[in-house]
Symmetry: C2
Subunit: 138 residues, 2 copies
């Protein structure tokens, strides 16, 4: 399951995508829409900004806005940013690799090999689906 952080991030991106024409949007507006704590959401938006998805404007009339095209925001990137690895095991993670402690020889581990295949298939889906797909449905 996705963490709430990731879920909220996707909600926020969706909201910003839906109101792209309105310019900068207040944290408060988004947090009220989804009932998310203002502060918690703020942290999430900051991460999304650092990652290059969002821009922000300070001062009165400021807020956040989307700076990437929804087609260029795949679910895989958002999930990795907020939740970490997509792979089901540390030993098959592309971005967060760690060997399994219990594994004597990863090269001979059948579980490892099957999970590589699962990872590749899962990634295919999550790279294909983007914010655009969410917006299309709303």
């Amino acid at each position: 399951m996705l963490s709430k952080k990731t879920k909220y991030a996707l909600h926020a991106l969706t909201y910003l995508g839906k109101h792209k024409d309105k310019g900068a949007i207040l944290i408060q507006e988004i947090s009220e829409e989804y009932g998310i704590s203002h502060k918690f959401l703020e942290n999430i938006l900051l991460e999304l900004k650092k990652a290059g998805f969002l821009g922000s404007k300070k001062g009165k009339g400021g807020g956040y806005y989307l700076i990437k095209e929804p087609t260029d925001i795949p679910l895989s990137t958002v999930i990795r940013l907020l939740d970490g690895p997509i792979a089901l095991l540390p030993c098959v993670s592309l971005n967060y690799y760690e060997p399994c402690e219990e594994c004597k020889d990863q090269a001979k581990c059948g579980l490892n090999m099957v999970m590589i295949q699962v990872r590749d298939e899962t990634l295919k889906i999550l790279k294909m689906k983007s914010l655009e797909d969410i917006l299309k449905e709303e």
Copy 2:
């Protein structure tokens, strides 16, 4: 990521699958092979037994053994048993459904709809891959 519980379960199933001809196998043998605490593994094997994957024999010379064919043990079932939902959001889980608190109208939630598609694709993979696929690689 899978919990260690699920990972250990898959290791144990693999081990039992590899040594099917040897009859009942001791918890201790498996726990030593993978460096898993005896008691922790015991709980996992009990769950696998309750779920109908394993049989057990008590007394001296007892232990656990596979009672289902490896082709009949899909990853999806093992993961669901030990880890719970495969879906990325509670609102799209088939077996552990819960509505999202922040969602005013699930029927109009684009995130929900996209995640249903992701779930279906993911399930397709995890149902297709079984213990047999792990054993084939070892």
